[in-house]
Subunit: 343 residues, 4 copies
């Protein structure tokens, strides 16, 4: 069975293993104060052109999101998200467990819109309702779509006007940066967001996410709140090494590109068969709508998820490529898509 | 500078790196449902002689402690600990952040006593005070001491009588199991505690702790609460592999033994010099009381911490060996201790 | 200005003041263990035909809701509500502040439907999402509608099948019990709900709500959780006296009836003018849709709220009668409604 | 049985009942925005000589404490208290339930000392421990003692230097202000504390505490956090009226004086008998040490609490007078104390 289920099915990029091996018995201090974390911080600040940013490392996305949000909000404040947002759909109420409401808004393409943010600000009536204070977005979104530079600028603008923090979940940032048509760079993101994280778990690391905090207000005592949430990693070296590997020689960008290239091959195969898509995605996640019989047949050899019934004979699926997807697997998958015909 | 500061200064035991390398591109499902976690679970259940235990993997000790405690307690319930307990001293209020009070009791040797537990139970007066429901202990303790089998049985007995959960933080369990005079086995611990964790971070793993839950009440929906706290690791394979490495061929016990052997060499050197100790520790952490001048001299070549003033000319220090401590470093350290004389 | 804005604009029913005066210097123990609370408990248990129910007194509805919900749920569990539910719309994230998500569902009439509850149960996928455990409903609802006996039985049935608690917010229960066409009695409610509260603040008390808990699971240590949330009232006597007043001589039912009668007079006046309604309400809250000009004119003499734009020339308003509404004020209001004509 | 158990055994001062009666059917808006709350606010600001202070009303002390503390602290911050502090001993972990640790310090007389505060500030080591940010004190303390003006100035000074908020729990403030030898005025307290509350529940009100917030940082969005904690009272008029009654014609000061006068009579009787005291209290709470036999005899006619064993034949008790204590009861009590002789 070949997996197109997600982008965290394999270990890590071999380059990271090399560094782990080479440095294994070097002694280091704990809790992300080590030489590896510091080197990774410098690489990330450089890539973001953000010399004053604080960079912290986490083991996972949910832990990252809950820590950033808990650190940013006063008790009565809420975070705004689309209904598809990971904090709204897949974190078992992690944000609420820190005491805060996630206020959700429908979105066709998984992207938050400036007018929704502005409305939320203007409709704050009184002390009887939660006070919006942060906007949560994902890049790429949970539907594989991406914010353009103009879109992110517009969001940042409205957030600034409303006094809201703008926070980007970059679990799949490598694939967004490499997306077809993307015009948004890491320095743009660092400039426009108050905080964001550069995903490692889904982008080639054994484990790890790197939070970049540019807003000085959010920087204050952040390590206290990490520790309180069990997020300050004793053996931070492990996380530092991941990001040294990913940010030396532009590896992060290269592996994103490789994954997107293969997703585009699959997209092309689907288009060639005349299949529609739930959403037009330029990234490593594709949501083609296929005949049920074709899906069943493909599933004999390939695993993928996201099955959503469209009509009696069709369903949408979620196909995900990654840094580790083998080109021959993609080719075989495309060939099978092209060969299969609805019964 | 040679570090005797703590037991998490290096990467991991080379055996773990080998498995990481060998399995790196095997595909696996996420969130600790993979083949590696399952294999590690079986090894741990076997080592604990606890076939019905649930085993879950975490990236760090604070995250483990807060998740187990949050899962176990109703809102008004509290956890009992010695004043030295890690949850009381070094977790930035992580337990309180989940809503629960940590009630602390003085202890000369870092160990919780049955009569303290019973008193806490009997002194529950009313709804105006928190209700004790769990006893937190560490093995080995934060002072390097260990519970004997008889002591743990007595604690388990009183906990059962009071309706309290008994939870053991095994951050340094490898060193406790290998301690001089230890008579407590993993199966004993699994039998006597409702839940405990087998520490990896300080005992040879790149990262990871393994929680063993034997009480069915605590098993219920535990993965939900892990996920909610950001503790369910997407790439669980990394954690599974650590514990495969540690529990194949009794590695966990061997590295514990090696560290304790070296701590004993250091202890002997100190005894030979006539130095006293804050506490008599049979494990990898030693707290000798040395002349200030000797400490200063040693610190030119070795790093260690825990400096606590005893009198005008003496301080206690904390010296920690680990799975990775090189025997030649220990020998050099002992030689220097023996050679140095108070000015 | 005569207020039809809400049902808590006045002090309390004169009978309650009489008891306050008569008992003022009687000494009593604190924290709701006094003779007045005990007498009120007995009256309420009798009215509910629930001799084994626990009855507790609170000062307000939000405090009641957050305490009951916090007491009932484990950390990862959520409460289900309509989008209109008070816990979703008007409590500043009070439930989330206790760590729990409020999962909301659209509803035309403000009532929760059994199929929504069943769907929520069946769609529980995994530990990545919150686990529904409680259904929150209001009687009467925030739109003034009421559950019939058959509807509440159906909800209770599905909750039992799903293992969910059914909790009713009875802030306006007096008006629901007196509603036109109501067939649901206090004993029915006590039999069908795991917990509910009998509203006093909006139904003639100076302050106070009375929680009735029939499910023994929810009874356990409830006073601890009240105290923890600041809800155990030192001078419980004040609350006990309110409910003695309300439940002696069926006062609670009489004042509900009086308020509904007057709401019906206003409803009739609106119907006579051909005005539509946002929802067909048989209780003390009416939501007529009026010409904007009429609204403006009425507001010169009467205050009321809930202005919701319907079209260019019409808005819905919320008109509320209460135990204290003077009949002459209602008559004047009706006369003005009938007299006013759209410009 | 005559109660000297506490200061909340009776209803309220008759003057308050008069105002309740006189205003009962006046209509008022809800949630403490009414004319009564506003008038009470003005009276309190005037008494405190604090025209810019925010004044909010609560139904009870625990609810007040948890709301003020939750509003003031970021997640990793802690509040400092003596071991006797009400938040440490009698609130069922209410502060921890909002996520914050209460750090306690021993105190012979129940009073916090400036050097303890300074030490706590200076010993903040790292992100591994909670960060102190607020000092909680009670006036009068739980042992009946009071801070002098010089002592409060010293505490305020050290808090300012450390960047800590100083918060005073004034549950028994009327009795502190009337204490023998007191030199601290309401304007002093308003000037020196960032926030404090003027207790009503124990000082003559049916229910109610009035928070005075002078620090603008703590004023921000405070009503949101009140509402979130269920502390914004729908029928705020009830609370406003209490404080109109208490602060018109200096009633608050007069009833404090009356209670202290009677406590002094009891103290004199004890001294005359040669009884010692646990602590020298100048307020309405006295802690005499009496022969066990005398205590048993007194308890046939009087109720009082706080029984603490001193030696085989003696215990300390807690005797409390209040605004409502009848002078003839005090005289009878004193006569009985004087008449009784140890068997």
């Amino acid at each position: 069975m070949i997996m197109f289920t997600n982008d965290y099915s394999e270990g890590c990029h071999p380059r990271i293993l090399e560094i782990l091996m080479a440095t294994n018995l070097e002694q280091a201090v704990g809790y992300e104060n080590d030489q590896f974390c510091n080197q990774a911080r410098e690489l990330i600040r450089l890539a973001c052109q953000a010399p004053d940013a604080d960079v912290h490392f986490f083991t996972g996305g949910t832990l990252t999101n809950l820590t950033v949000i808990a650190a940013a909000l006063r008790p009565h404040q809420a975070v705004l998200s689309t209904v598809q947002g990971h904090i709204a759909t897949n974190e078992t109420g992690a944000i609420e467990a820190t005491g805060h409401r996630v206020v959700t808004f429908p979105s066709d393409d998984g992207k938050m819109k400036p007018e929704i943010v502005r409305n939320a600000f203007e409709r704050q009536r009184s002390e009887h309702v939660t006070q919006p204070k942060m906007v949560y977005i994902s890049q790429s979104t949970e539907l594989g779509t991406i914010y353009t530079k103009a879109e992110l600028e517009a969001l940042a603008q409205v957030c600034q006007e409303c006094g809201f923090f703008l926070y980007m979940d970059g679990a799949r940032l490598a694939y967004a940066l490499a997306a077809v048509g993307n015009d948004l760079t890491l320095p743009d993101i660092a400039r426009l967001c108050d905080a964001f994280y550069i995903g490692g778990n889904k982008c080639g690391a054994l484990t790890g996410e790197a939070v970049v905090i540019t807003n000085p207000i959010l920087q204050q005592d952040f390590r206290h709140i990490m520790k309180q949430n069990g997020a300050l990693t004793a053996k931070g070296r492990l996380l530092g090494i991941q990001f040294i590997g990913l940010f030396e020689d532009d590896l992060y960008f290269k592996i994103g590109k490789k994954a997107v290239d293969q997703a585009m091959m699959i997209k092309q195969a689907c288009l060639q068969k005349g299949y529609g898509f739930r959403v037009d995605s330029p990234t490593n996640m594709q949501f083609p709508i296929m005949p049920t019989a074709v899906i069943a047949k493909l599933r004999e050899k390939y695993s993928f998820g996201g099955l959503t019934r469209i009509d009696e004979n069709h369903s949408a699926v979620r196909i995900v490529t990654s840094w580790a997807t083998k080109e021959e697997d993609t080719q075989a998958f495309c060939a099978d898509i092209l060969a299969l015909t609805e019964v």
